[in-house]
């Protein structure tokens, strides 16, 4: 590398207040291309709000969000080169799997029906759901729906993918299949920002972990350090609780 790599996301002094409550308090972060960036923290720490600001569903009260060199703080979500995977899957229930995959490619990216179909099926194959291409979401399990959602986001060729607790609405036996898809994606070089409570998975796959507490970045670093040798008391306490709950 001849020059310092330009971060794909630069979060500059971002704060978000809901009325009197400060959800995110002056956070600055850089995320590099190809990173698997995990946001950790107790509920209400601001990690989902931060993710939703990157996606464009919430507007920062202060600060900038720079995506790929452009200030996108106030750009609406439909104009951002990022795609989100939701906790509740958000697969459109009135369209079958293929329609879910193709609609935005055709209507938004202007791809031809054939191109969209080809790309959609490729992505469906990647998440291992080729056999279900004509089914409706209601006929699929939660894990399968979530994989359709991932394929749908992938079909839009995003520069960056956001995952908002993608496995927390799933039955325990279905979590593995979604994590496997995410692991494959990470190995394929996709840049991902992930909010999750799957600590074992985060420890194994993440390139960087960031621990948030009350809207502030408490600790940031490679997973080995955060999980193995946390510097902050709060991080330790949080991890201890999670371990006691049997999630690590």
């Amino acid at each position: 590398m001849t020059q310092a790599q330009q971060p794909i996301i630069q979060i500059r002094n971002v704060s978000k207040r809901f009325g009197k409550v400060t959800a995110v308090d002056n956070i600055s972060l850089d995320i590099l291309a190809g990173e698997f960036f995990v946001l950790l923290g107790p509920s209400g720490c601001g990690k989902t709000t931060l993710l939703r600001m990157i996606a464009g569903f919430e507007m920062p009260t202060e600060g900038q969000i720079i995506i790929d060199g452009q200030d996108m703080s106030l750009v609406p979500p439909n104009k951002r080169p990022v795609n989100m995977v939701f906790q509740s899957y958000a697969v459109f229930p009135h369209m079958n799997v293929t329609e879910n995959l193709n609609l935005a490619q055709i209507k938004v990216l202007g791809r031809s029906v054939d191109d969209a179909k080809a790309r959609g099926l490729k992505m469906l194959d990647r998440v291992g759901l080729m056999v279900h291409k004509d089914k409706f979401p209601g006929q699929l399990s939660g894990g399968q729906q979530q994989r359709v959602a991932i394929a749908r986001a992938l079909a839009m060729s995003p520069k960056l993918m956001l995952f908002d607790e993608p496995t927390s609405a799933l039955d325990p036996e279905l979590v593995g299949e979604v994590l496997k898809v995410m692991r494959d994606l990470a190995q394929g070089g996709m840049t991902m920002i992930v909010v999750t409570h799957e600590m074992g998975f985060a420890r194994e796959v993440a390139s960087k972990v960031c621990f948030l507490y009350e809207g502030v970045v408490h600790e940031e670093g490679p997973p080995a350090q955060i999980f193995g040798d946390p510097k902050q008391e709060r991080t330790r306490a949080f991890l201890k609780r999670i371990i006691e709950a049997g999630r690590l």
Partner: protein, 303 residues
Amino acid sequence: MSGALQDWKSQKKPFAAVVTAPVFWLALFFVAPMAIVWLYSFGQNAGPADIEISGTLDNYKRATEWLYVSIFLKSFAVAALTTLLCLIIGFPVAMAITFAAPKWRPWLLLGIMLPFWTNLLIRTYALMALMGSNGYMNKGLGGLWEGASWLRTLVGMQPLEAWTPVQLLYNNFAVVLGLVYVHLPFMVLPLYSALDRLDKSLIEASLDLGAGHFKTFMQIVVPLAAPGIVAGVMITLIPALGAYLTPDLMGGTDSQMIANVIERQFKRANDWPFGAALSFLLIYAMFILIAFQSMRANKVKEA
């Protein structure tokens, strides 16, 4: 869901205790009166206060005369237009309530519901007072008119002639406006409850995938809120079709709807058998509407 239903035979006494009163009431004070109307619709006037149920179909035959068919059609058109206007006005309102901050939502809902609880006659009367030739609506229009006149003088044109109050009441326009005024809450509430049930992340997912607000609305919100839209349409269309008070008070001589014609048969025209036949035709029209809706609902269920 109802797996724990008990057979009536196993608990005859409690069953009798709960079922007797409602069934008795329904039979005596609903089924019997309706049955008499139904029988009367096959009868004819046999004297000043005597009706003979002769099994004649004359009343129904008379109802197919163009005069009555046209009133039926017109009632339907007025009700449909009212429903459409309620839908257009009500949808953004329902959206606004759904996406309002949690502390505002109950108050907005209350704002829609309070008129709904207020006496229909008083609301109609209040609207009429506003629309009268000396009412505020006329004053507002007069103000606009004078404003336009003043604008014309600014650009060097002749001013418009002086404003004369227009007749806003006692015409078809007034009837539709009155029906919209009265029925708007009926439309907003089911729309709101459908939108409230809609998973917000579906809308976010659509925006996230690059669709704008309009596309998202047409492709995601409308199809998924369809049950609420259908419910709102039915709940507005049915009472609007049978409306009596609004056309009676706000309509002109040519704004009669079917309910007014029925009323006339029982009061002024004193032709009860014909009124009974018209009543049942109106009820059958309702049944057809409801059958359409449930057919559609079944279709959706199968898909």
